[in-house]
Assembly symmetry: C2
Homo-oligomer: 254 residues x 2
Amino acid sequence: MATGRTHRPATRSRGIPEATVARLPLYLRALTALSERSVPTVSSEELAAAAGVNSAKLRKDFSYLGSYGTRGVGYDVEYLVYQISRELGLTQDWPVVIVGIGNLGAALANYGGFASRGFRVAALIDADPEMAGKQVAGIAVQHSDGLEKIIDESGVSIGVITTPPGVAQQVCDRLVAAGVTSILNFAPTVLSVPDGVDVRKVDLSIELQILAFHEQRKAGEEAEAQAGAAAVAQAAQEDNGKGPDGDVPAVMPA
Amino acid sequence: MATGRTHRPATRSRGIPEATVARLPLYLRALTALSERSVPTVSSEELAAAAGVNSAKLRKDFSYLGSYGTRGVGYDVEYLVYQISRELGLTQDWPVVIVGIGNLGAALANYGGFASRGFRVAALIDADPEMAGKQVAGIAVQHSDGLEKIIDESGVSIGVITTPPGVAQQVCDRLVAAGVTSILNFAPTVLSVPDGVDVRKVDLSIELQILAFHEQRKAGEEAEAQAGAAAVAQAAQEDNGKGPDGDVPAVMPA
DNA sequence: CCATCTTTGTGCACGCGTTCACAAAGACAT
DNA sequence: ATGTCTTTGTGAACGCGTGCACAAAGATGG
């Protein structure tokens, strides 16, 4: 998972569990695909398979929304699409600003999945005067001097930060001060925001490092399984008292 | 969090908890910053603040790696940088292929944070013959016909998929068949892979939808607090039998 | 060498999330 | 109307992750 919410009281106040909310978009995507194929109903088993989750989990997730299924039959696809859309707030339009129109910002602006579901790029903002006025994805880039004005006039409440890490916090502060209450952060920085503001982060570097960890573990286990205890004996000088943990021996210089 | 691991036995076989692994890159980033400022030692409290986590959590996380701190003093920054790097497998070089050189693929190829930490873009692959030979981020794009050969020759074990969703599974299958065992998927699709292959996904659309949910909830609570039960009574025609749930009233046309 | 002070490492309890397993509910055929 | 069959909705148990709170460990000063 390339993201992780930043603090927050955790428990949804007598509402839908956070883990469930995170899966609703997944269900919605699968249901939309079924809808386009004009499939009228779907069972929890089928839908769960399409979304890549356990069917019991899916049923429990839906149970938080209400009893929208019919026993013996399944769920009405169209109805469920609507209910989930409504629950996620996708029946309304969400204007979004993207701050930092570099490679990534431009890629996001061009991203089709953006507009497809209730989200609309209201403005592109960059600090570079050279960028101002340039068209990206059919939208003129505006200079960050007018950030507050733009947000106020467009009624934007969701901001996407794709700036270099050095200025991310500063941009974040200005967004929040201007009224933005949800931020999607692509900059590799820990943002601090006041209560009431949601931050989600997408960090490519972290994702790769997590993969590398598992990759190394897999390689280690494989080598261990093949070479047997031979290499282990050879590297037995190190002893960190943690017992025979199947990890790579520590070859710390000092 | 913009990501989510795709199935997997869950419990790390007598190793480091998954939640801890996901935080190690965060600690590493904070520690690297301290290292560059030549800070010799850091307390769990300070480091936790920099990484945006609870100090008790940080100490527990580190305890899984071993006893690398000194009571009364804190942690040696350089030593910890090395230990975490080693644990994450960043002391070795990880060649990575990016498949699908559209806007996003190009942005990733240009992303500096890529090379900074053990990861190296070994190849850029695209299915469009027009793209073949073009330079992106100083690397020549290669046609996907040679995917298997490229992966084999470069010893790549990590693949990044930035293709359109329609071909993502197909690309994934070829990557896996060619020997890739870790995949970072940016395409909005559920990938199915054999056991032993790790998939992490980054899904912009899902992140935005989660933000929209919270945004709607915030707006709803605010309106509720201000308008009281007035608006609720007006929209009371809908009744989903779930009782007086404190959510936004559904104003469904039909 | 002893006292004090700081900071780590962790035992413990709690809460969220997942999964199992099954009763309840409805469709459908006879 | 009754029985059978399918599928939902959920009670209950379990496991992971989090955070508190404190004892152990070491530094530091006298």
